[in-house]
């Protein structure tokens, strides 16, 4: 049982859980399912701007220090509480903000569910006050999405002109000195990716049809996100890679963080799917998270035994899907309590992606780690049953 987690979904998966409530409360446009970050946190942004007396780079709404505070949270001198948008190492946010301040493009790497998109949205909102200059990368993203397209009716009626030109978000960002965002950069075909090279190195976008060019004004920058477990789909050319500073967003640092994220997200999904209420299966969640973490990190939680990591990503998002699935099983077919048997099949599916190699890894893990563990006997047996 797997659920593909695309970049946009990962926006919601981890850290967004904290803000989901505030989304609903603070969202100015009440009907909008999900308002943009700059709207949701408009109060915080304006409070920060008022308190911020440090130098700001050209066209930045806030100083780098204030941007970092916006993401990491804190309390301003006037007592305004800034909620943390990103829970993770401070270092990462600082490097990301500094990168933008030094006029280098920022590449956020990470496995699905590490809040790449979330961070990029908030960075853009804090730096430029606008997180909507977005190019979603897919296998079918055309060059026009990055450069410019044409309004063909205009083009045919009046010939090539500035009016017939449909600028891409990147082009608009260049013209206005804003922050552009490219999601899932590595999903974009390599030749289309490379159109970014000129944009990032020459900071210009020529329009040969008009004999013009759009030169980036100060303040323009670009944040891209990419999935580092999907490596090799459309590997960045080294020329493009060189234009980026890379920041890898890590998975939750402690088991407690991760259990917390999984439990909350599962509860949310359960509500939205109208699953019958199932009592707290926190122990089972903890077990799922432990198994995922151990296999992912290649070492047991007590740090005493190494295990081989399987080929799957085993991200937090997948743990969430395993538990949700288990809850559904327990609610509809089980006794209403989340038990080892309900999650076992899901775990097997998440871990064993490559039938030959991963199966051995999984069995080795079962025999060498799970079997010995106190209080895990039922889990061991349930897993043996489904993997036999």
């Amino acid at each position: 049982m797997t659920v593909t987690v695309s970049g946009t979904e990962s926006t919601e998966s981890t850290e967004s859980t904290q803000s989901a409530e505030s989304d609903r409360v603070a969202g100015g446009a009440a009907e909008v399912l999900r308002p943009h970050a700059e709207h949701t946190f408009a109060d915080e942004l304006s409070a920060l701007a008022a308190a911020d007396d440090r130098p700001r780079p050209a066209r930045w709404r806030l100083s780098p220090w204030a941007v970092a505070t916006y993401l990491l949270g804190g309390t301003l001198p006037d007592g305004t509480v800034i909620t943390p948008k990103y829970v993770g190492p401070r270092r990462i946010v600082e490097v990301a903000v500094t990168t933008l301040a030094t006029d280098r493009a920022l590449l956020l790497l990470g496995v699905p569910g590490t809040a790449k998109t979330w961070v990029s949205e908030h960075l853009a909102a804090a730096v430029s006050g606008d997180s909507t200059l977005l190019v979603q990368g897919t296998a079918g993203t055309p060059e026009e999405a990055i450069r410019y397209g044409w309004n063909y009716a205009q083009l045919l009626a009046h010939g090539p002109s500035r009016d017939a030109l449909v600028p891409s978000p990147v082009m608009r960002a260049m013209a206005d000195g804003m922050t552009a965002r490219v999601e899932e950069l590595t999903r974009i075909p390599a030749d289309v990716q490379d159109t970014l090279i000129t944009v990032l190195s020459e900071k210009t976008l020529p329009v040969p049809e008009l004999g013009e060019e759009v030169q980036a004004v100060r303040g323009f920058n670009l944040i891209a996100t990419a999935n580092d477990r999907d490596r090799g789909v459309n590997e960045l050319s080294s020329a493009l890679r060189r234009r980026f500073n890379t920041v890898v967003l890590p998975l939750p640092a402690t088991p407690e963080d991760e259990v917390d994220i999984v439990a909350r997200r599962v509860a949310q999904i359960g509500r939205s799917l109208d699953l019958p209420e199932v009592p707290e299966g926190i122990d089972e969640i903890r077990r799922v998270v432990t198994v995922f973490r151990e296999l992912r990190q290649g070492v047991t939680a007590d740090g005493r035994t190494k295990v081989k990591p399987p080929s799957g990503t085993l991200s937090t998002a997948e743990a969430i899907s395993v538990v949700t699935n288990g809850l559904a099983l327990a609610a509809h077919f089980g006794d209403g309590v989340l038990r080892a048997g309900d999650v076992a099949a899901g775990i097997l599916g998440a871990v064993v992606r490559d039938p030959a190699a991963d199966r051995v890894i999984w069995q080795e893990y079962l025999e060498a780690v799970v079997r010995e563990r106190d209080g895990w006997k039922d889990f061991y047996r349930a897993c043996r049953e489904v993997s036999a």
Binding site: P64, R91, E94, V95, S238, N245, T246, R304, E364, E372
Partner: protein
């Protein structure tokens, strides 16, 4: 002197409070000494070193080095005072020696500190270094005030190291020229420390009172000897104490009654890696390479550092251009500005390297950390330096073991059961680990017992050099060998290396190194995907477990690891047996046999040593052992086949439950009888599935291994398991009594049926019947199997026969001449008897005809042989003949 306007006498003594190993401090010290030109330099360190400080100016001396003090009669008790090129103390020494200014060390003598350390805590051998209070990181052992942490906390920093770096190390020389500027930072630090000590007292550094009293006395002596103008380089913490006025008598009182040992001191080479460890001055530093760079870079430290990093990457074939370096510099500087630091520190630099050069990856960063931040720098010490304690320890040990170093080649026979010989063997093994090849193991003549060892001894002059080199590892042969083995285990790349190391650790009796080695072993085993490697590692590991018993070493950890390894093999073996070519198949077959033997040994060993294991850290629920079987509780055992609660069965009546109970004549023939008895015992124990204890698990291990073999033996056809492996698996099971004869016959029939390709069938035969001499005996005794082979062979088509012939020849030519002849006779006699037994069912225990023998038991002849057989089997005089005796008779017959 020319202390222009500095208030004359007020500056003297010039107190230079430093952080040990701080490059900024070193630079400041140099500048201050240049400015004030004192008449003598006093340094925090053991006064014994006064005599050998001259050597620091020797051409052959290259930092990092360390002053090593050790108790004369016990080199194991030693303390180190490491000095790197960027240490302020080193800078001061160099400054003074270059100008012929006298240098004195003023700390408490090592004679006292070593004795005090020994009194405080009877540390065995490894690190009995004097517990110097730390100016750097907090000490874990005792709750003490970390002065820097307190100051950093006051300044709003959470990391004391970073605070010190920002405030002191990253500062250039003070503003403006003149001596006042160069002394200003020291004055400021001194004041800060004074404030801190006023508030916190000694901050938990109880020994300091005596040390500082001694420093004051030495300072007074020096001023009498060299005049008022002396400079003192010491940890910043001590500055207020030295500035304080106190009477000579008060200081002397503090020093009265300190314990004392005879101490000797020397220079030893040191490494950056060891600087990074917490020792000696106490201020273990995390980044000696970075500090060294900061100290030695003439200007633009950041740019130079990042260029160094780029060069390192290029050498390792990571494409890094100058553009990368430029961007990294920009990022680091902006990051420092964002974090509000005056200059980019190591953290900013590494963040920049990670984001710009490494594409966010930690892997290349680890390289930078290892090669540059720590670095591989190895110090050198001139030959004229006094001998290292390791040499003394060796000499002492040689004397006490009566083992003289002689240049002449000679052979040494050791009987490990004797105390002295065992100690000699340990010494030689340890020296070998240290690369001092004084003795090399030679093949034993005569006895092959494990308690005997033969060595070839030859002391070459260059071995002394080797000993000196090994001095880096420790002060005694034991501690040095332990440290070397640990580092070897961490650095080893293949599983085989670590297993070998584990074996050597046991031989050399290095219990201290064993945990690290075992950990490395478990880690390598966990990550190795090749079952072949694991299978190779297991036998030697199990050997170690067994051998450990001979030497009375505690091998609980080893057993644990071996069991874990076996576990992984169990999981990995079946898939690895699929789709092999003939060469691969025969290799795998060898692995399988080795693992089979190893698992047998392992379960046996762990049963005999069960109490030891149970005392270990493993998750032991019930003390289960063969002699006191655990009561059958939960049916948690995996191989729980037997009736729970079966009473302890004496070996003789030990017909285990289920299929395994089938008595088997062939087994009696091919397996020595005592082994069979043990085997039965273990089977019986397995039947009583007890709680999940270690010993029980191991018995279960054996059961599961049998399950794996059964799975392998039964996998057939197509891209399945090659015949030779299937055959071998079946045979191993049969020999263990875990495969009923019927089942064996069925498997053979299956393998030899006409649907199977003849070559495949021949391979099966090779696996089942080949190898050891016992293979043939099976055919001699079981005519049914012989009949099957015979029938198959006559049925092989003529054109396939030539393909099969070499395989069969290989199988049968390995048999003893006698066996071959008997087989020939049996075949010539014709299939009459064979047909009968093929047609007949399994032979029950009362079956009259043992194949190959006449019908019935000739009681008279048996009775004649019985006493002898009893004697052979050590059964004593049990009454009625039991099934076992029956087998034994058959075997003997």
């Amino acid at each position: 002197m020319t202390a222009s306007g500095a208030g004359g006498d007020a500056v003297w003594p010039l107190l230079l409070g430093v952080r040990h190993h701080g490059p900024g401090s070193a630079r400041a010290v140099r500048a201050a000494l240049d400015a004030y030109e004192p008449g003598a330099v006093l340094i925090e360190g053991p006064p014994e070193a006064d005599a050998i400080v001259r050597l620091a100016a020797d051409e052959g001396m290259r930092p990092p080095v360390a002053l090593l003090a050790h108790a004369a009669d016990d080199p194991g008790r030693a303390g180190f005072w490491p000095l790197a090129g960027f240490s302020p103390e080193w800078a001061a020494i160099q400054w003074a020696l270059a100008r012929d200014v006298p240098v004195r060390f003023i700390d408490l003598p090592a004679a006292n500190t070593l004795a005090m350390a020994a009194e405080e805590r009877p540390v065995p051998e490894a690190d009995a270094g004097p517990d110097e209070p730390s100016e750097g990181a907090g000490q874990a052992a005792r709750v003490r005030l970390d002065p820097l942490a307190a100051l950093a906390g006051a300044a709003g920093y959470d990391d004391p190291e970073r605070w010190w770096e920002d405030v002191v190390e990253h500062r250039g020389p003070g503003p403006g020229p003149g001596p006042t500027a160069s002394a200003a930072p020291f004055a400021a630090v001194g004041e800060a420390m004074a404030a801190l000590r006023a508030e916190h007292g000694d901050g938990g550094h109880e020994d300091d009172a005596a040390r500082e009293a001694h420093m004051r006395l030495r300072l007074r002596d020096a001023r009498r000897e060299f005049g008022a103008e002396v400079a003192v380089v010491c940890g910043a913490w001590h500055v207020p104490a030295l500035a304080r006025r106190s009477t000579v008598t008060a200081d002397r009182t503090l020093l009265r009654g300190l314990p004392k040992v005879k101490a000797e001191i020397s220079w030893v080479p040191w490494t950056h890696r060891r600087l990074a460890r917490h020792s000696g001055y106490g201020a273990g530093i995390a980044s000696p390479g970075w500090y060294s760079h900061l100290f030695h870079a003439p200007d633009r430290p950041l740019e130079r550092w990042l260029t160094k990093v780029a060069r390192l990457f290029r050498d390792e074939d990571v494409a890094v251009s100058s553009a990368h370096v430029i961007e990294a510099v920009r990022l680091a500087e902006t990051l420092a500005a964002l974090r509000g630091r005056p200059l980019p520190g190591l953290a900013e630099t590494m963040d920049a390297v990670r984001a710009v050069m490494c594409e966010g990856s930690e892997v290349p960063l680890a390289l930078v950390r290892d090669r540059l931040i720590v670095g591989d720098v190895l110090g050198e010490v001139p030959d004229s330096a006094p001998a290292v304690p390791l040499q003394r320890d060796l000499t002492r040990t040689q004397r006490s073991l009566r083992l003289k170093p002689e240049a002449q080649d000679r052979e040494l026979e050791l009987d490990l059961r004797k105390e002295n010989d065992a100690a000699r063997s340990r010494l030689l093994h340890r020296l070998r680990l240290l690369g001092v090849e004084w003795g090399t193991p030679a093949a034993s003549r005569g006895s092959t017992g494990t308690f005997r060892e033969t060595w070839r001894l030859c002391w070459e002059p260059e071995l002394a050099v080797r000993v000196a080199e090994a001095g880096v590892w420790g002060t005694t042969v034991l501690s040095a060998a332990t440290a070397k083995a640990e580092s070897g285990a961490v650095g080893a790349t293949t599983l085989a290396e670590v297993t070998e190391l584990a074996e050597r650790c046991l031989l050399a009796a290095l219990p201290g190194a064993l945990p690290v080695v075992m950990r490395a072993l478990a880690d390598r085993a966990a990550l190795d995907t090749d079952v072949g490697h694991l299978a190779q590692a297991l036998p030697s590991l199990v050997r170690s477990v067994r051998y450990g018993d001979v030497r009375a070493t505690d091998t609980a950890a080893l057993t644990e690891v071996a069991a874990g390894l076996a576990e992984r093999i169990l999981v990995g073996l079946p898939p690895a047996c699929v789709g092999l070519d003939p060469d691969g198949a025969s290799e795998m077959r060898a692995h399988m046999e080795a693992v089979h033997r190893a698992i047998g040994l392992l379960t046996e060993t762990s049963r005999t040593s069960a109490p030891t294991v149970a005392a270990g850290p493993g998750p032991v629920d019930a003390p289960a052992s063969a002699s006191a079987p655990a009561p059958a509780s939960a049916a948690g055992g995996i191989a729980a086949a037997g009736p729970a609660g079966e009473p302890t069965s004496p070996p003789a009546s030990g017909s285990g439950p289920g299929e395994v109970s089938e008595p088997d004549a062939a087994q009696g023939a091919s397996v020595p009888a005592p082994a069979e008895v043990r085997e039965r015992e273990s089977l019986a124990a397995e039947g009583r599935a007890g709680a999940l204890g270690v010993a029980d698990r191991d018995v279960g291990l054996r059961g599961r291994w049998a399950g794996v073999l059964r799975g392998v033996a039964g996998r057939d056809g197509g891209p399945g398991v090659p015949g030779v492996i299937r055959g071998r698996a079946a045979r191993l099971l049969l020999d263990d009594g875990r495969l009923a004869e019927d089942e064996a016959a069925r498997l053979m029939g299956l393998a030899l049926s006409s649907g199977t390709a003849p070559t495949e069938a021949a391979a099966w035969i090779e696996g089942f019947l080949g190898g050891e001499a016992g293979g043939g005996m099976l055919l001699v005794h079981d005519e049914r199997l012989l009949g099957l082979v015979d029938r198959w062979l006559t049925g092989v088509p003529a054109d396939a026969f030539t393909d099969v012939l070499p395989l069969l020849r290989r199988t049968f030519s390995a048999y003893d001449a006698g066996v071959r002849r008997t087989l020939g006779e049996l075949v010539r006699r014709g299939p009459s008897g064979a047909d009968e037994s093929v047609g007949g069912g399994p032979r029950g225990q009362a079956a009259p005809a043992a194949p190959g023998f006449g019908p019935g038991l000739d009681a008279g002849r048996a009775a004649a042989a019985e006493p002898t057989v009893r004697l052979l089997l050590g059964l004593g005089s049990a009454p009625a003949p039991t099934p076992d005796d029956h087998h034994a008779l058959e075997a003997a017959g």
